[in-house]
Symmetry: C2
Subunit: 713 residues, 2 copies
């Protein structure tokens, strides 16, 4: 016994050598630290009963064994027979009582991905049943069950039934074939193309596990600025090797289709979507893909946008292009996600309006297996945007949401910004296109009776050991999955679960960090782009502030185009007296925004050119309010630092220090944003920064001369 103890203590000490490097994400499965709760869980969970010969359940069983054994601190294994505390995991065909217990209607309602977790009795014993119509549902149910324990929830009388609100829950990787990642701030691409298909990195497996744990069921592997090479035979073999791993976790693989591929890698002279040879080429390409990846998801396409080729090169419409590809994958059950992020190379039209102008007329013209993928706002993933006017404007077309997890405009992987409040703000926005038509209802198909529905997040994942660079970046990945499954979850609920799984269940820690996360997005808006400012960041790399920038080759890549500051005031007039972009919204929305008295102040400069002396609701002027916002943004980052510093004894040193260092950088950069923007806007307002505020310690010229030649982009 003493010898055993010595060896055990030895291993314990080794354990302490293993740092919390963040690799395990929210799937740490450390033993429950609350002794009373641990005791309870151990009585409530004693073994697993699940068919050993059901290959389709293997990963769910494996996860349950690993997770429960970790959480309960004792080996929980698969056993034949039922005891008190047996977790029964199987399909209706595995346990004949399920159909009677649950009922055919309730089962049918689960669809292919839903699950039921229920405490019930078998042979006089209290057991927990995890079931669903299909293996995918069971996998999701297992992860849900593990999450209950990870977050210290009671499990004595479970009666849970859950189905996803959205069908396609996807990550979009903007990963290039040379392993760089466009707008990637967490190292290079995790796809090691050079060593695929032969080498299956453990990361691929853990990536699939992590996605499955939050219900993400698809991943687009490649950049929307696409490379046709990925559609060649050699690369499809590599893709198939990934698909073989991901399939075990019900994660489908999608690719970006470069529209000019028939010319670039085929031997055709055109990529005209109405050309018979082109159609045939894509059909054969689809057949080839499905031969090696029978469950291939389909294509994501960026066409006729920012230099990408598309159907307009041949005087065809986006619908012509999308439908041609849709016909190619339709026989295999594939879909096409056609991005609405387009703006013309030449058009002098307000960029805000262009996607709507291009796409709204096409409503009703798309095939049944096409979704139009729309960014949350009309410009480009700014810290705050009003909802995209296409939402609600194309009732006959399934619109898919595109959020951006990677923080292109939100401080890269250096700023702590929890994005759920941003996502929720958009989802909760009422488009007024029908009686019940929030953006969430448009997206989840309930507003217009679509069954094909989708939500995508542009991934923030890279080769950094902790996946996302910033430890809190993981929360945004987590949020995408959870919100796509259930868009009624609140930002607070999601933060709460994530914190408990990722760091600690201790109340003081959970409360403090949750508060910090919930505030973080508004704090960033305040120090970057308060009051409706947008697109005033550095050119090209988008790092830091550059509201003065006016040298881009096209007007609407320049910050000055967006803020329009002058001696009178600041802001983009999008009312009828300006670009009239507001006309793209339903009257109720338009009226709210076009009236300065009703327009939310946080959207003000999105829609109005406002005099510097304009009285805000507080009674202060616009200029004073802008100063207040910028200064409060910086002050709030300092509050975040103080809050975090109090957390030192709650978690491991490694992650504590990471966040501490990153918050220090965030503070410096918040000051940089504040000073650079106010000094610059001050050249128009010609007003002083109100007394009592710390004065900028650098000149405007200093900020204007900064350059960042190797900033990631």
């Amino acid at each position: 016994m003493k010898k055993l103890l010595i060896i055990i203590i030895g291993i314990l000490i080794n354990n302490s050598l293993l740092a919390e490097d963040g690799y395990r994400l929210w799937l740490r499965y450390n033993t429950v630290h609350d002794p009373a709760l641990l005791q309870q869980y151990r009585q409530q969970i004693t073994s697993i009963l699940s068919p050993g010969d059901a290959d389709g359940l293997f990963r769910a069983q494996q996860e349950l064994i690993t997770g429960l054994s970790g959480l309960l601190g004792k080996q929980i294994s698969m056993q034949m027979g039922v005891n008190n505390g047996t977790v029964m995991v199987g399909l209706p065909q595995h346990f004949s009582f399920i159909r009677t217990l649950v009922g055919d209607t309730a089962l049918a309602r689960l669809g292919e991905e839903g699950f039921i977790i229920r405490t019930t009795r078998r042979d006089g014993k209290s057991v927990i049943l995890i079931t669903g119509n299909k293996e995918a549902g069971i996998l999701y149910g297992v992860f849900h069950f593990l999450r209950l324990l990870q977050t210290h929830q009671p499990i004595q009388q479970l009666n849970i039934s859950s189905t996803p609100k959205i069908q396609l829950r996807l990550l979009n990787h903007w990963d290039n074939l040379n392993r760089t990642v466009e707008r990637g701030y967490a190292g290079g691409s995790i796809w090691d193309w050079q060593r695929l298909p032969g080498y299956i990195d453990q990361r691929y497996i853990d990536y699939a596990r992590a996605n499955a744990s939050i219900g993400i069921n698809g991943t687009v592997l490649t950049n929307v600025n696409a490379n046709a090479m990925v559609l060649t035979e050699a690369w499809l073999q590599k893709v198939a090797a990934l698909a073989n791993v991901f399939r075990q976790y019900h994660l489908k693989v999608y690719l970006t289709a470069r529209f000019s591929a028939p010319v670039e890698i085929g031997k055709l002279k055109t990529a005209d979507p109405l050309n018979a040879e082109v159609k045939q080429w894509w059909k054969e390409k689809a057949n080839e893909i499905y031969r090696s990846i029978p469950d291939f998801g389909g294509f994501l396409v960026k066409a006729n946008s920012e230099g990408q080729p598309g159907p307009q090169n041949y005087q065809r419409t986006h619908a012509d292009g999308a439908n041609m590809l849709a016909d190619a994958v339709a026989p295999h059950g594939g879909i096409v996600m056609w991005r609405a992020f387009v703006y013309s190379n030449e058009s002098p039209e307000d960029r805000f309006k262009q996607a709507y102008n291009d796409f709204k007329p096409l409503d009703g013209q798309f095939r049944k297996n096409v979704l139009v993928q729309v960014k949350n706002g009309p410009i480009d993933f700014q810290p705050r945007e009003p909802f995209h006017p296409l939402f609600g404007a194309m009732p006959q077309t399934p619109l898919m949401m595109e959020f951006q997890l990677t923080q292109e405009y939100m401080g890269f992987a250096t700023h702590l910004v929890y994005q759920a409040p941003l996502f929720k703000e958009v989802l909760n926005a009422d488009t007024h296109s029908k009686s019940s038509s929030t953006v969430a209802q448009i997206i989840d198909g309930t507003a217009n009776n679509h069954t094909l529905t989708g939500m995508a997040g542009v991934a923030n994942i890279g080769s950094d050991i902790n996946w996302t660079g910033h430890p809190f970046g993981q929360a945004n990945w987590y949020t995408l999955g959870r919100l796509a499954w259930d868009n009624s979850l609140t930002s607070a609920q999601i933060a709460n679960e994530w914190i408990r799984q990722t760091f600690s269940n201790k109340k003081a820690f959970v409360d403090t960090v949750q508060q910090l996360m919930l505030a973080s997005r508004e704090i960033m808006v305040n120090y970057m782009t308060p009051l409706g400012l947008h697109h005033i960041m550095g050119y090209g790399h988008h790092y830091g502030p550059a509201p003065w920038y006016n040298k881009a080759p096209r007007a609407d890549w320049n910050p000055v185009y967006f803020h329009k500051a002058d001696s009178i005031g600041i802001g983009f007039d999008r009312t009828a007296s300006g670009s009239n972009a507001l006309a793209q919204y339903q009257p109720a929305v338009r009226q709210q925004f076009e009236n300065m008295a009703t327009c939310p102040e946080y959207f003000l400069l999105w829609f109005h050119h406002v005099p510097w002396d304009h009285k805000m609701r507080s009674g202060k002027t616009l200029w004073e309010t802008m100063c207040d916002k910028y200064y409060s943004g910086v002050d709030s980052v300092r509050w975040m630092q103080r809050s975090w510093n109090r957390m030192q004894n709650f978690i491991d040193a490694e992650r504590f220090n990471q966040v501490r260092q990153l918050l220090a950088i965030q503070e410096q950069e918040a000051v940089w944003w504040r000073n650079a923007c106010l000094l610059y806007f001050q050249t128009f307002s010609r007003k002083a920064i109100p007394a009592g505020y710390e004065k900028p310690d650098r000149t405007l010229q200093y900020y204007q001369e900064l350059s960042f030649p190797y900033a990631p982009n």
Copy 2:
């Protein structure tokens, strides 16, 4: 007690969830598994006595506590007072008895980096003393002591004194400022420039620890194809942040100096090394660097080679260039490493000869703080090269060895190739320039009485979790450090230590894997470039075989230039009847190589154009022997696979599977090399592949048409 056990077992199970991902390298410190030995060690080591206020010893103390606590499976802490088993760690000024015990002469002999580990008695107790003249020595001593335990060596009567044979033991990173790595196969650069100086990644600390553990004391952070930007103020701040971490582990930082920097980032019109303004610019730049990095090591320079600027642009010599930089850093104690890897853009001369022709005449013209850094062979890190003719040819100049750890020509991070036998083959080669003048003796300064000495390895480190991509790539990093410290270590000794620390001390495992490692380099030579073939790989990326390639913009980038196969035979005649490169060697060497009867067959085609029917020593023809070699290379990879597969139960599943998958790729690529080369050379030899060998299952055309547009390069 029961409750404690339950909690402990809980943590144990968690521990088992933590995979062996390779991040910990050879510093795992898992508890000694042999119970008898563990018992012994626990009696022999009980506590640590070391001055708590000696900042310079902090990292050594910390490592000793962590390492011993892990290895012994119980907390070993710093205590005041001496017991049986106390490990005493300090400088002579910390423990007054040291000077008497060791003696001034022995202490002086240790220099700044040497250490002594000695079992002795204090106050009637048996203690272990780790000492040195300086903190660096103590750090190295601590790592050496830990290695004794990690490799299960007896420690009852220690009497070790060790000093490094070579002064500068360096890694050269070919890392670019955009985080790509030239010839990097393990992900991107570990230098996260974007988040420096504010964010200190844990990886930087563990990188420094790993280097210190094997005696590496310097690192060149940036690519020899240099970017002047790293010498600007903003970047130097980032470099200084790294230096602040590395200094704690006695690891100095060096940078590559782009010769044209005075023009590119200064405002000068010239970079002429004899121009006064240029000299002044570099002096001021050096002053600036040393202000923020007082222990900055100096510069590594690639000049007038492969497009890099250099003194020859101004009709100056390499010595003019090197001396100008040397003068700039000399006041601060810095050095310049000037690479001899040069070949003219236009010269039709055998590339083998050009470095010698350029550099030998400059012997004696370099400043005292200049080393000329010479690759091990005359061409470029081929699987086998004869030693570089400059070794022994410049007695007045310290020549520094440049090995390449990253496997540019050795199968990337996919082939298991243990490079110690390659390094030792070169180090053991006799230059015959003096009576005792092996390459090792040239390099370590003993042949020509140099005290400034150096050995560098081009790093194989990247952002992959296990640092080197291939788990066995770690062994090459390890070897560089160990051989630079002590070039008398054998390949077997180094492999043995590395295996024990990295994987397991179990005899069957150590024996099998050691045998496999020791054979691996010759196996690679056989399936890639047997009998003295060289430089027949794919163009640009250097991936795979392309002996047919003849489209490069200069002759000596083409494989056909190097093998010169024709209907008569194959090989590069470098005797007097050919390029006469052999004249660059001392007569004894030249005579051995120029006579086909005495030339080692493994060098044959380096020096001779040999008829296909030439009878080799075995009695077989050249063609038959070439076939034998290529086929035996493939067969041996299969033997490696079988050997490895027997190791499954000795180690963790994760690393076992990684190596298993990589060996499978290696086997496929060995077949590719064999088939492609033999099918191609067969078009000249017009002879059949001997009966009994499996026939190539693809045509030569198939291999010639393969292309790898995104292979890393």
